[in-house]
Every structure is written in C-alpha cells, then in structure tokens.
C-alpha cells in the first residue's frame, strides 16, 4: 500500500514523514482533539453495531478503519463549506456538529434524513450511489453565482466512482471550474467487490483525464488527510476549481450489519490493515512526540463511553412516528392525494390526525 503516489505525514508506526508539499500545520492540541474525535466516532460506531444486533436499528453502516479519512476531511472544512455525504459519513456529521442521535434516525428507520441540512451545512444522506456528486457540483455552481468564498465537499466510495453521475460530475466541475472537492474514500471494497473491479489504475488518476488535479492521500493518516483536504478546499474557495482526493483506506468491518465479509475476503487482508490503524498511529504520535499522558487518553475513552451510553438511551427513546407524518413534506403545497391519504388514515383510526 505505502507507495510513492501516496501523501503520507505519519507512518503506521506514528512517525513523521517529511512532505514538503503538505507540511503539517497542526499543533499538539489540535492533533489531540482529532484523536478524541476519532475515538468517539469509533465508539459510537460500535454502539451502532451493537444496537443493530439487539434489534434496535434496521441497519448500521460502520466506519471502522475510516476514522482518519473522515475526521481529517471533516475538520478541514470551514464553517461555511457545505458537504454532500453518503450513508457512511458519520465522522463528517460529527465534525459538522450534528448530534449523533440524529445520524441514527435513518438507521432506526424513523426518518430518511435526520437533521436540518441547512443549519449544519451538511446535506441529508444520499443512498443512491453517486447522485450526490452532481448535487454537490450544482450547489457549487450556486456558490459561484453568489460570489461566495465557500467550497463544497462531495463524498463517495470506490464503488460509486463507476457511476455515470460521478463521472458526469467530473465533466461539469471541470467545465464550470466549480468550487468542489471530490472526496473519494477508497476503502478497498464495495460490499463484496474489490476496488480493482472498478479501476485498473489508481482512482485519483481519473481527475487528470478531466483536466483537474487528483491526489491520493493515506486515508489512515489524519494529519495527511487534513492537510490535503484543507489545501484543496482553499484552492476551490479562491476560484482554483475542483480537486479529486482519493483517501486510500480500508473498511475494517462489514459493509453494513446485513453483510457477511467472510464470504468474500480473507482474514489476512484485514490483519494487514490492522497494523495501519488510523487511531493507533495518532495515539502513538501523541504519546511519543507530545508526551500525552495515559490518563488523558483514558479520559477520552471514558468520555466516548459516556457518549455512547447517552446515545443508546436517546436511540431507544426514539419512538415510532405517527404514521400520518408520512404525508408531511411529501409536497410543499397542498395536494389532493395527500389530503385524501390523511383523511383515510384518520377515518381508519390509524392515526389520531395530529402530526
């Protein structure tokens, strides 16, 4: 994995790598705070899996292994930037300040969104692979028309990168010089399909063919992801146009809780990637370079545990919505079939009619 193409600032062992183009701008406190983010989302993700196992969620999409990619990218975004996630961007949602319980509404099957996307400047999840890449470019075209110094992030995976929508979004971003950063998390797998099925050469090269820069970053290195993303966003904000970032990472867990990876991948591969764990390497850096104490580290773990516990309570408290809410916001303006449906539900006693 560790090849010349890859931007890396921190080795799997937590040692610094000199990278003249992408020098780290983070101080110890900032790195510690990113470490905290990563520990927390990993913990929350585990809670998601166990909640699903206990029948409390319809599904859960874990991000184990991708914490550095998501926290690095999420922390690089400015407050006015806007992002378009898939179903797996829990780390980004965290960085946007969205309360964890809100990410769980989708997975508890009580909402198809979960938060106010305008308030957090983080769109609702897109499940249809690739659609959001075009939506992001469109949003970025709006930013241009407003003359705003903002950038837009479009998230997608290695699998989704084969979709026409993603590829068309490259055409459009190039043509309109849109202030967008395509953030591709190449976690090596699209459910059971290895990324080699989607591309014979590194995915970041695609951008060059469309006339804008592509860069591959070690997606398990939060320092590198942060710097690479930050520069791409700055570039976009000042009219420099799009960038494709391929965060080379690994999906340590199952695709979702419905998936059984033992059917299609070997343990040895997972073992190799365990040595590249994104959390461990920052921890190692913090301990060795910044002399962070054990107590500080365990405080983070304890905080994460407490958050997970609170989250669990909140999720369990999330009741079944009144069925009549299915008619809310289906349309913005009055619609006869919506009125008819509401009436029927009330007449049949399925809903009291409040909503």
């Amino acid at each position: 994995m560790i090849d010349e193409e890859l931007v890396q600032l921190l080795t799997p062992e937590g040692e610094r790598v000199a990278q003249p183009d992408y020098e780290s701008t983070l101080d110890g406190d900032q790195i510690f705070s990113m470490y905290r983010d990563m520990v927390i989302i990993r913990r929350i993700c585990n809670e998601g899996t166990s909640l699903q196992r206990q029948g409390q969620l319809a599904l859960w999409a874990p991000i184990q292994g991708q914490e550095a990619a998501q926290i690095g990218a999420g922390r690089a975004m400015g407050p006015m930037d806007f992002s378009f996630p898939t179903y797996r961007e829990h780390g980004i949602a965290w960085c946007r300040g969205i309360p964890p319980v809100d990410w769980f509404r989708l997975f508890r099957a009580v909402s198809n969104g979960g938060w106010d996307p305008q308030k957090y400047r983080h769109s609702v999840p897109t499940v249809v692979l690739g659609n959001q890449a075009l939506n992001a470019v469109g949003y970025a075209m709006g930013v241009q028309r407003d003359g705003a110094e903002e950038a837009v992030m479009a998230f997608f995976g290695d699998g989704a990168s084969s979709q026409g929508d993603v590829l068309e979004s490259f055409v459009w971003a190039a043509t309109f010089n849109a202030p967008v950063v395509f953030f591709l998390q190449n976690n090596q797998w699209a459910i059971s399909e290895p990324s080699s099925l989607q591309a014979k050469i590194p995915l970041y090269h695609r951008a060059e063919g469309f006339g804008f820069p592509g860069v591959r970053v070690d997606g398990n290195d939060v320092l590198a992801v942060y710097e690479v993303t930050k520069r791409a966003l700055e570039h976009a904000r000042v009219g420099g146009g799009p960038t494709l970032i391929e965060a080379f990472t690994y999906r340590m867990g199952a695709h979702t809780t419905s998936d059984d990876p033992t059917r299609y991948r070997v343990d040895a591969e997972v073992e190799v990637w365990k040595h590249r764990d994104p959390v461990e390497r920052v921890k190692s850096l913090l301990v060795h370079e910044y002399k962070v104490k054990k107590t500080a580290l365990s405080a983070v773990t304890a905080e994460a545990d407490a958050m997970a516990l609170k989250l669990r309570e909140d999720v369990l408290a999330m009741g079944r919505p009144d069925p009549i809410t299915m008619f809310d916001h289906a349309y913005a303006a009055p619609h006869p079939l919506i009125e008819e449906g509401r009436r029927e539900m009330i007449d049949m006693g399925i809903s009291g009619g409040s909503h």
């Binding site: 378009f84 769109s123 659609n131 075009l134 470019v137 929508d165 055409v171 289906a330 349309y331 619609h335």
Partner: protein, 326 residues
C-alpha cells in the same frame, strides 16, 4: 385587458422572461439554450439579456443537468431545465425520481425543490426516433412530482410562470407540434390556477378529455360530431398529476360518457388513471364504459406513420360512436 397574439413558442419565451425579471434566483439550464436559443428557440435572446450565468449552456448530460439543478435548488436557486426532446429525459430519470421527487420529504421540508423541467413532448413534427414520445405517465406515477401541460399560447405564458413560482418540482410538458400556432395571450390575468382542468367546449353527450397537442384534434372531432348530432364536451386536463378530478366528474355526471385521449400507449397511463378514477367517482352516471384513445402499444413509429399512431379525429369519432351506441 392587454391581450396580444403570439405563438406558443413566443409565449413561453415571454413567460420565462417575466419570471427571470421578477426573481434573480431563476436560472435556465439546458443544451443549446444560449446563443442558439434552444432547438425550438424557446429561450431566444434570454442569454443575451440575462447573461451566461443565468442562462446556462450545459454539457451534454441530462442526469447532470437535473442533478446540478437539484444542487442549485438546495443553494436557493430556481432552475428551469430544458430537456431538448422528450426521449432524452430518461438519462435524468434517476435524479428526477430519487432526488427531485424525494428531497423535500427527505430533508423534512427544509429543501425547496421548486424547479421546473420543461419537456417538449408528443409527436407530430415528423422528426426521427426519440423526438416524439409522451413520457408524462412515468412522472404522474411518481409521488413528489407534479405534471402539467399547456395547449394554448395563453396557458403556456401563464402556466410556465405559475410553475416557476410553485414550490414543488414540476414536469412541464410542451406540445412541440403546437409551438408555432398563434393564439391570444392575456398579459394581465392568468386564465386559471395551475392545477385546474378547463372546459374548452361545452357539450351534453360525451366528455372527451385530453391535454397538449391532443386538444386540437379533440376539438376537431367535437366539431365533426356536432355535425352528426352528438354534443361533445371537451376538457383540457392541463394538470396531469394531480388531476383536477372534480371537473371531470362534474362533466361526466352530465354527459354520462367519458373518453380519455393521449398519445402514449394506454397501459398504466394518465388515461388509465382518468378512466379508473372517474369510473369510480361517477359510477352511477356512466352510461357507457370509459374509453381511451391512445398511441398503440409499440415504440413510436417512423414518423411517416405517426399520423396513424397518434389519436386521429377518426379514432376519436369512432370512440364517440361506440360510447353513444353502447
């Protein structure tokens, strides 16, 4: 009352112009809509007057046209998309069904999906394949969308403006074969609400409902039927989803007979919906079964044959005879 005579193409052009003047957030996007003014010249002169930032010539990818219009909507813009011809809307189908129709709901009402997809549709222009289809039923079936169609310059002028002002996404179907026909346009007063069906000709024996290009054919058939002593009430559905079902039911309660006309094949179509719904609501009034006169269940034929594929005056009269004789 300021009325003036113009073609439907010009009426659409003027309607777009009014909407753009009124609201700076209104953008146009599509293929060849800039310098060329669109292959039908509906956007003629608009790029010159409103600039390239508001009248956007798009790379050739319909999914991207609609997909970026979605993103622009999220950013607060209101984009009027031109699909060059009916048969080229399908690459955008996924964005329309999965995002345009659902994002208002998915965002709990936060996103305003007020965008308009202009769709030149129906046949009659002697074009090659994929330029004469009637895809309206696909969109009528889709919850989250609305579908309307104009049949006169006056409706074109007003309905496009009403659509742009409306906060739900609208598929705006324009009968290409009528673009160049002239009619009176009232520049002050809209003829009716966007979702209203309108009685175009009163009659007592049979209700014939249609939309877009079919109206002219239906009116001709009504004229011919009059000669044979049958009084046909002609209704322009205008809104295909939702249907203005009350107007249809009221008419059928009077006439007792219903014929729905459309150019698409009849299976699982707007015509099916009209017949099913009116048959239900006006059950005791129906003196004969509701019939449909539609395109045949074949891919749109080479256009030398289109006059025998599209509903003709003869086929409508034949249906009129059948319901009268039933």
């Amino acid at each position: 009352m300021a009325t003036t005579t113009m073609t439907m193409a010009k009426a659409l052009n003027e309607g777009l112009r009014r909407a753009m003047e009124r609201n700076k957030k209104v953008l146009l996007m599509g293929e060849d809509i800039g310098k060329l003014g669109g292959v039908f010249r509906i956007t003629d002169g608009l790029q010159k007057d409103f600039g390239e930032d508001r009248v956007i010539d798009a790379p050739l990818a319909e999914s991207a046209i609609v997909g970026t219009a979605v993103g622009l909507a999220i950013r607060g813009y209101r984009t009027i998309v031109e699909i060059q011809f009916d048969g080229f809307v399908y690459p955008a189908f996924d964005q329309i069904v999965s995002q345009v129709a659902k994002l208002h709901k998915r965002s709990d009402g936060v996103y305003n999906m007020g965008l308009v997809i202009r769709l030149p549709f129906q046949g009659g222009i002697g074009a090659i394949e994929h330029h004469s289809e009637s895809p309206e039923s696909y969109f009528a079936q889709t919850a989250g969308l609305r579908v309307v169609s104009c049949s006169t310059p006056n409706d074109a002028y007003w309905m496009i403006q009403q659509s742009i002002e409306h906060d739900d996404p609208i598929i705006f179907c324009e009968p290409m074969s009528r673009y160049w026909e002239k009619g009176q346009v009232d520049l002050d007063q809209p003829p009716s609400g966007l979702f209203d069906a309108v009685v175009r000709r009163e009659g007592t024996d049979v209700t014939v409902v249609g939309y877009g290009a079919s109206l002219k054919t239906i009116l001709r058939a009504a004229e011919a039927a009059q000669g044979e002593g049958v009084s046909v009430e002609v209704i322009d559905a205008r809104s295909l989803a939702p249907l203005d079902i009350d107007v249809l039911v009221t008419s059928v309660e009077k006439t007792g007979r219903l014929i729905a006309v459309q150019e698409s094949p009849h299976t699982a179509s707007v015509g099916s919906e009209i017949v099913a719904e009116v048959s239900q609501r006006a059950f005791y009034s129906m003196r004969a079964p509701g019939l449909r006169v539609s395109g045949y269940h074949v891919p749109y034929p080479p256009t030398r044959l289109e006059d025998d594929y599209r509903p003709t005056v003869d086929r409508i009269l034949d249906a009129v005879d059948r319901v009268m004789e039933f």
